[in-house]
Symmetry: C2
Subunit: 427 residues, 2 copies
């Protein structure tokens, strides 16, 4: 029965029962973690043979004859570029292969714009009023980069097919202090939304007021489907070219959730001009990234097809966990009118929207019985959810049995928070 | 016979003979490289077993129970901190273990100062007049960081025991736009000079005009001795504390010339306050560096003693090459009055000072017969050697037989350049 149509007495009785269960749960001494999108142990074991794939000597020579143990090759191994070229549908020459962290590349890309500007003829952003558009809910670490560097963030609501493009187009075309926009175009963090071709076309065809407006296209989950092949999307890189917007975007990806979160390889892709500009500054920063680890990846996966085959193994491990979220939410929340949630086809998260004003309380209740989720507000700029309604669920790390318990506790706490809210509003 | 005391005729005859040899050399079609301080193939093979030392599963767990394959542990593995703690004589808690490049850490440390300032209460350096003191000759990549970020460089002459401290103290204490100083304290690049305890004490006890003056102490060759154990120096970290200058320095080191130039691990060490400040910004930039590679290093080397034993193997390969430089220079230059050179006890370079005005010409003559050395001027800020006298010799990479040829060619070209110079001056 819908909480909001319950009588005062019915709701009080419901709340009493929920609190009884909560007191019982307290006694269990739980210690469960659904807070971050990380691989579980079984996933980590999938790539085991990669660890010993290089044996030294001639084994460490890349296909262009470079000894990967030594210095050099700023932009990375051609064999890794080729794989990411297929993954991202971007020419290999437009890719730089870096170290183990795409977050690091994104931070450095923003920092570079602050210190030098985004290209020849553009001023450094430092000391100026800079705004970034942030589709919400989104990835907390994107927002942390902006906050750290004093970049003002503007919330953009997400629709079921991507950011609200009417709002984006208006802001980008009218305000030349709008210099950036974060996008996670496929299996978006945390909603799982796949940007539609219509949205991608509208993004690629924008006419920004600022010549140095840049899109940070974080394709973190580009091959991370749960059911079958990855979703097919309009080629953003090519689409940009159609509108003469070649330089308008930086594209990022990594193997953090393909091989190892701590020891994968990450790339940036962009126009010829942007890549040349980046390399010209990057060469001051580093002689070359870890090519041995790049070579391990190339040898182990071999090709895009090899990556896809490998992702099926990840999906087999993750599917039951995402199914468990859907089933539990459906069973526990259905008909209560207090919760809506995403049903992602890929990625690492489920986005849960509770009745307004109930997310922080739910987080708090959960924490008190030993269940850790991403803090309420985290998926929004400055950690502030104006509706206090969104929670990010990261179901991948805990084993299935623990996940079930954690999800039941989450539902219990969410119900308590919502019932309390409705009660208090009636007083 | 000394070139400067030769008669005009004697010198002309000498030059004729040299040029004859040069014409012969041209026909050899040489392709030799003494340009960068990199390991040769035999050195790269020394660490071969490290490549397959991790097999997956429980093997990948650090001593503090972290699965190194997954995310986390921003400041690196305790076992690697412990080894660097012994190498640098700095407490483990004052160390952050990063990725494969100390250059990257140094760049990021300067960039962080530009964007945020060096600590709470200090202004960002961006947009202000910032000067760095640069002992010369020095490391070209240090100077490139300054040039790239618009930092003005001030040349400081090197004495046999380190930078000219009278000049350093005066500038640091009187000019509050002096914010930094580069130091390679042991087996300095390129001169091989080991800073004396007296110099280290004077550096540590300075009273800078700028509260945000910082020393960039690049201890790149801390264990890289050629003959016996590494030189023992005053503990800089402890010395800073004595004078209340705890926060005044960042210390850098790496295994680039211990394990692999392209795939080692690098660290930064500093005061408690600096480390906390750095981590607080670094956590925005990256979740954690490659811990699997850190673990490989810890497992393979085991301890500081393990590192020292390993460095003996490097020294055994490198000693004949450095001996060859010394013997060739002694044989070819002795008594001519045109060249002085360093006789390093460690590190990767020999610094050659020719008669003023002869370095660029020597470089050019060498390039034309297929012998590559570091471009003249490179070891000085802005690539400009005011005396046009210094050349950096990097003897480690070529096999001994090639090195011998390359060195003979270098001596030939240097003699031509100097003889030409003297002739032209007499006209």
């Amino acid at each position: 029965m819908n909480y909001s149509t319950m009588t005062k007495q019915q709701l009080a009785e419901e709340l009493r029962k929920l609190r009884e269960k909560y007191e019982e749960a307290k006694l269990l001494g739980l210690k469960l973690d659904m807070s971050r999108g990380i691989q579980d142990k079984d996933q980590l074991d999938l790539t085991q043979e990669m660890l010993t794939i290089l044996h030294g000597g001639s084994d460490c020579i890349s296909e262009n004859g470079i000894d990967c143990r030594n210095y050099g090759l700023l932009d990375g191994l051609p064999e890794v570029k080729n794989i990411f070229s297929d993954i991202l549908e971007v020419p290999a020459q437009n890719i730089i292969v870096c170290g183990n962290s795409s977050l690091n590349i994104m931070y450095d890309t923003v920092a570079r714009a602050m210190l030098y500007g985004v290209g020849d003829g553009y001023e450094p952003w430092f000391g100026r009023k800079i705004k970034f558009l942030c589709p919400v809910p989104g990835y907390d670490r994107h927002f942390a980069i902006c906050e750290s560097l004093g970049i003002e963030m503007v919330n953009i609501p997400m629709t079921s097919e991507g950011p609200d493009m009417d709002m984006v187009e208006k802001l980008v075309s009218e305000d030349d202090s709008v210099k950036g926009m974060w996008c996670v175009p496929k299996y978006s963090n945390p909603s799982g939304i796949v940007y539609s071709d219509r949205v991608i076309n509208r993004i690629a065809s924008m006419k920004p007021a600022a010549g140095d407006f840049r899109i940070f296209w974080d394709n973190a989950y580009v091959v991370h489907s749960l059911y079958g092949l990855p979703a097919k999307q309009l080629n953003f890189f090519e689409e940009l070219k159609k509108y003469g917007n070649d330089d308008m975007a930086y594209i990022f990806a990594s193997t953090s959730k393909i091989s190892y979160p701590g020891a994968g390889v990450a790339v940036i892709a962009s126009s010829d001009r942007n890549i040349a500009y980046i390399k010209n500054i990057m060469k001051i920063q580093i002689i070359g990234h870890d090519k041995l680890n790049q070579l391990r990846h190339a040898r182990y996966f071999g090709s895009y097809e090899g990556i896809l085959r490998h992702m099926e193994k990840h999906a087999a491990i993750l599917r039951p966990k995402f199914d468990c979220v859907e089933e539990t939410f459906e069973k526990e929340f259905s008909g209560l009118g207090i919760a809506e949630w995403s049903k992602p086809e890929g990625g690492y998260f489920v986005s849960l929207n509770l009745q307004n004003g109930c997310a922080a309380r739910t987080y708090e209740l959960l924490a008190d019985i030993g269940v850790k989720i991403t803090p309420a507000g985290s998926p929004l700029p400055y950690g502030k959810d104006p509706n206090d309604s969104n929670l990010r669920i990261a179901p991948t790390f805990p084993p299935l049995s623990e996940l079930k318990t954690a999800l039941n506790m989450l539902c219990l706490c969410a119900k308590i928070a919502c019932a309390e809210k409705i009660c208090s509003e009636r007083e």
